[in-house]
Amino acid sequence: MPKEKADVLHGSLAFMVLRTLETLGPQHGWGIARRIEQISGDALALNQGTLYPALLRLQQMGWITSKWGASDNNRRARFYAITRPGRKQLAAEAENWERISGIIARFVKTARVPS
């Protein structure tokens, strides 16, 4: 494991955001970032420069929507929620990632064969 925390794999962030919103329900950006870092066991660092453009993109795709509301500490915050097409997309991506990680896992194992 390198010392630096890993950057979020390109394309996987969308999946993580969608999954987070599916499990936790509507969340603001900071909450989503926290959750992703938590789940990854703090192995991933998520900065705004990555997260917010991704959120915007997901909105443009119609997978999530956003709404202004009050946070726990009563501040104005933008809450994101997953949409029906978003759930569909999530299911598709979940399957995809499962397959890919399965394949990658096999490669990781075969690489251990002594030369």
């Binding site: 970032a33 705004q48 946070s71």
Partner: protein, 885 residues
């Protein structure tokens, strides 16, 4: 789908830019605050917490930029920037902008106007009529005489036996004189089949259209549908009009319907005022009852093909039916066929007349557009030179060349767009221009509109885009291709561009000169042709006056017409100043067609596949003397050629040559419609329909032995105005309720048939002149520029002793050399193009040296004028200043 959604998302982002920025700030701020709170919770000091949070978040400005870009449509924003900048640039040099826009407005306006004419007159000529794209005109054909009309029995057979057609429509134009209250007006109307309104998809706004049964029965259904215009103007919009009766040609007709506003019938050029069903043919179409006579051809009409049927398939089917009719009814149908015409070639209305004119107009306006583009291109090049500093700076601070190109093209596009807006205005003004150019006829309400529908607008938008590329691309490329190093170095020297740019500008001028030369030569050719046409003798005296009295409309029967004719001629002959007057069935050069008849000639063996026919006119005694048509043999008709005298005829020279072959026809017999007539004279050739017609067999029979007529020809010294008063007086003396129709000279009658040629000539003349002016401006621009750029050289030459004539020659020869190249190119192009209009040229070779010579002369004069001013300015150069600067 997704792409579209993103696009709209972004578009909305573009529109709500301000609030989005605020939201973004709020959201990021919230994120930061949460981060700080979290850090404090972890035990940091507030300051530490803040700086740690900020470190973790990374560059906010950078993020915002990414965010903005993702949010909005950068392409549009750049475009918007370019547009605003473009407008600023145009405002900064208003003279240039105005000139450029004016040139383009002219080009685009003219093109759009012609598009709109073609759309409104040729392609979709009938407002409110559905599926015009499947409509075709239909006429009969005659192996001997070419086009002919169709008989009613044939028409019904076609309708019954053809499967590829939605509808067969009769549309026989005719006229009547309508007297309502104390006002009597000539009115254009149509005899139509009962399915007319249904098939056209035109629903009367009041009352009903015709019913199928109303096609049949001799004069059995005196009903009429009137136009909205007539309803408003003559019946004052009477809401209870339906069911009222109106006298038409002596018969009370019940008004059963009013057509919607904007429906003008189906005759290109004239607005129809009322319609009657086919059963009323005898009342409105002279020559007797024709509905049961297969040999009586009177129908002009239209068909609508079923969807998906090609014109060729339709023609094949209907021709097959015509062939069956030929074998079944050889007596009437031998040698007879049928022909479908695209609407824009319709031979029996103004579409056919205007088709060549409009095709020429189209070619001409494209030329004018090209010339205008070349001019604007040149203007842009000049201005680009003025802006090289700006461009150089932009390039040096890192603007991409593509970005510059886009900026310059956007500027061009703004020009084109403004011009297109102006062009649409111009086209809108020109919508009814053709009506003004065509001769007015009393009682005919002309309708020849341009139609600015969406198709025309799309085409104009296309023209606008293409012209932008045409005039904008070259200068834009030239400008964005500045070589930075040399441009910066040469900043003070003023020789940027150099030879290459001069070459581009020069070739643009050559193109302009060539194009305008083609137009000038074309105008010259058509003018020569028109002169040849107008110098063609019609074969009668053009000074003879002609008029008519619509006795049929007044309800006169045959006997009363005869009595009236006799009385009128007697009265007129006794008026001093009138040499002679005569009644005829047809006035030559009128819109109506002559009667045709199958003929047989004593001693002429008719080949088995030939059914000789000839057109004829019925004329009163003294017709030939009155009209000034000489007789080459035999005698004139006299008063004794009447009902009791032997039946006689006068044939024309071509008929004599064709059927008597050198023998003298006088004294032998000709059979017309089964009657044997004695030939008593041979008339010299004259023209019957128009000046350019081919000489055809034609004969005359005495009015008294045939039909009745309402046209009057008068040979007189009196001027038309006086003659008209005399005519009114004499007619009133016989019947107070009658009035003559318009009285014109035969010359005027002839001129009306050359209207299309005159329109073509004036159009080419005007545009040729315009093109010449544009080309001259272009030449002037190039020469002025050259002079202003070579001040130093000119000064040097003067200092070394060059005289004023020397310098004049030097500069002028440059400009004239360009012109000469242009003329050579133009001559080659014109010679090739002239072949295309060869069929419009009458007795003029497409290489007519006079036309080309005059075009050359005019071009050279214009070029000399355009070059002189800059050359003169060159001689005014102050050598001291030129060298010092």
């Amino acid at each position: 789908m997704t792409g579209l959604r993103v696009f709209f998302h972004r578009l909305s982002g573009l529109l709500r830019k301000g609030s989005l920025e605020r939201d973004m700030d709020d959201e990021l701020d919230f994120h930061l605050q949460m981060e700080i709170t979290e850090n404090i919770r972890k035990g940091m000091s507030p300051n530490q917490a803040r700086s740690e949070a900020q470190r973790r978040l990374g560059g906010v400005a950078q993020l915002k930029e990414t965010y903005r870009e993702a949010h909005a449509l950068p392409m549009f924003e750049v475009l918007w920037q370019d547009i605003r900048f473009g407008f600023r640039m145009l405002r900064r040099s208003p003279g240039f902008s105005l000139l450029a826009i004016l040139c383009l407005t002219l080009g685009i306006g003219a093109t759009t106007a012609v598009f709109s004419w073609i759309e409104g007159i040729l392609l979709r000529p009938f407002p409110l009529v559905v599926h015009q794209e499947r409509m075709m005109a239909v006429t009969g054909t005659d192996r001997a005489a070419g086009r002919d009309d169709v008989s009613f029995p044939d028409f019904l057979d076609f309708q019954k036996n053809c499967t590829l057609f939605d509808a067969f429509l009769i549309d026989r134009i005719t006229g009547t004189t309508l007297a309502i209250g104390d006002r009597a007006d000539r009115t254009t109307m149509s005899v139509v089949s009962a399915n007319y309104f249904d098939a056209l998809g035109v629903r009367p706004i009041l009352g009903r259209g015709f019913e199928p049964a109303e096609d049949f029965g001799r004069n059995a259904h005196p009903v009429t549908v009137i136009s909205y215009q007539m309803w408003q103007e003559r019946f004052h919009g009477d809401p209870a009009i339906i069911g009222k009766t109106q006298m038409l040609n002596g018969m009370p007709h019940t008004i059963i319907g009013v057509t919607p506003q904007g429906f003008y019938g189906t005759f290109v050029g004239w607005a129809m005022q009322l319609w009657v069903p086919a059963s009323m043919q005898e009342t409105f179409d002279p020559g007797g009852y024709k509905l049961e006579d297969r040999g009586a051809r009177w129908i002009e009409g239209f068909v609508r093909l079923k969807a998906g049927v090609t014109p060729d398939q339709a023609q094949a089917e209907i021709s097959a039916v015509a062939q069956r009719l030929e074998t079944t009814y050889p007596a009437t149908n031998r040698g007879r066929g049928i022909k479908l015409w695209p609407l824009w070639q319709t031979p029996f209305n103004n579409a056919g007349t205007l088709l060549p004119t409009l095709s020429i107009a189209l070619a001409v306006v494209v030329f004018v557009l090209l010339i205008a583009c070349a001019n604007v291109s040149n203007l842009l090049l000049v201005r680009a030179f003025g802006r090289r500093h700006e461009m150089t700076v932009r390039l040096s601070v890192g603007a991409g060349r593509g970005r510059l190109l886009k900026q310059l093209l956007t500027e061009g596009f703004i020009l084109a767009l403004l011009a297109a807006a102006g062009g649409l205005l111009v086209a809108n003004w020109c919508r009814n221009l053709l009506v003004l150019l065509l001769p007015a006829r009393a009682g005919v309400s002309m309708f020849l509109p341009g139609d600015l529908d969406w198709r025309v607008l799309v085409l104009s938008a296309g023209v606008c885009l293409i012209s932008t590329l045409l005039f904008g691309l070259v200068p834009a490329f030239q400008t964005s291709k500045i070589d930075l190093a040399s441009a910066l170095k040469a900043e003070s020297g003023g020789v940027v561009g150099g030879k290459r740019r001069a070459l581009v500008r020069s070739s643009l001028v050559v193109v302009q000169v060539a194009l305008s030369f083609v137009l000038l030569a074309g105008a010259g050719l058509l003018l020569q042709s028109l002169r040849a046409v107008q110098n063609t003798s019609p074969g009668f005296t053009p000074r003879v006056l002609t008029s008519y009295v619509d006795l049929v409309a007044a309800g006169y029967d045959r006997q009363r017409i005869k009595n009236f004719d006799d009385a009128l001629i007697d009265r007129l002959q006794s008026v001093s100043g009138i040499q002679s007057a005569v009644i005829s069935r047809m006035t030559p050069f009128s819109y109506r067609s002559y009667s045709t008849a199958p003929i047989a000639v004593d001693g002429y063996e008719t080949p088995p596949d030939e059914q000789p026919t000839a057109e004829f006119n019925e004329v009163g005694p003294g017709y030939f003397a009155t009209m000034g048509i000489p007789l080459v043999a035999g005698r004139e008709f006299t008063a004794s050629d009447n009902e009791t005298g032997p039946q006689v005829a006068v044939v024309n020279e071509v008929m004599a040559a064709q059927y008597w072959r050198g023998r003298d026809p006088v004294g032998s017999r000709v059979q017309v419609k089964g009657r044997w007539l004695q030939v008593v004279g041979v008339a010299k050739m004259s023209k019957y329909r128009n000046l350019t017609e081919i000489a055809r067999p034609f004969f005359y029979v005495p009015m008294r032995q045939s039909s009745m007529g309402v046209n009057i020809q008068i040979r007189t010294q009196l001027n038309p105005e006086t003659m008209r008063k005399v005519l009114v007086r004499e007619i009133h003396a016989i019947d107070e309720n009658l009035a003559p129709g318009e009285l014109i000279t035969m010359q005027e009658q002839v001129d009306r048939t050359t209207a299309a040629q005159r329109i073509a000539v004036s159009m080419l003349g005007v545009f040729g002149g315009l093109a010449l002016v544009l080309a001259a401006i272009g030449l002037y621009g190039v020469m002025s520029y050259t002079v202003s750029q070579s001040t130093r050289e000119l000064g040097l030459r003067m200092a070394l002793g060059a005289s004023v004539p020397n310098l004049l020659r030097l500069v002028m020869s440059q400009g004239l050399a360009l012109t000469a190249i242009g003329v050579v190119v133009g001559t080659v192009a014109a010679l090739m193009m002239a072949k295309l209009i060869a069929n419009l040229l009458y007795h003029v070779s497409p290489r007519d040296p006079l036309a080309f010579g005059v075009a050359l002369l005019v071009m050279m004069i214009a070029a000399t004028a355009a070059c002189f001013l800059p050359a003169w300015r060159a001689t005014q150069t102050d050598p001291v200043r030129a060298l010092r600067d």
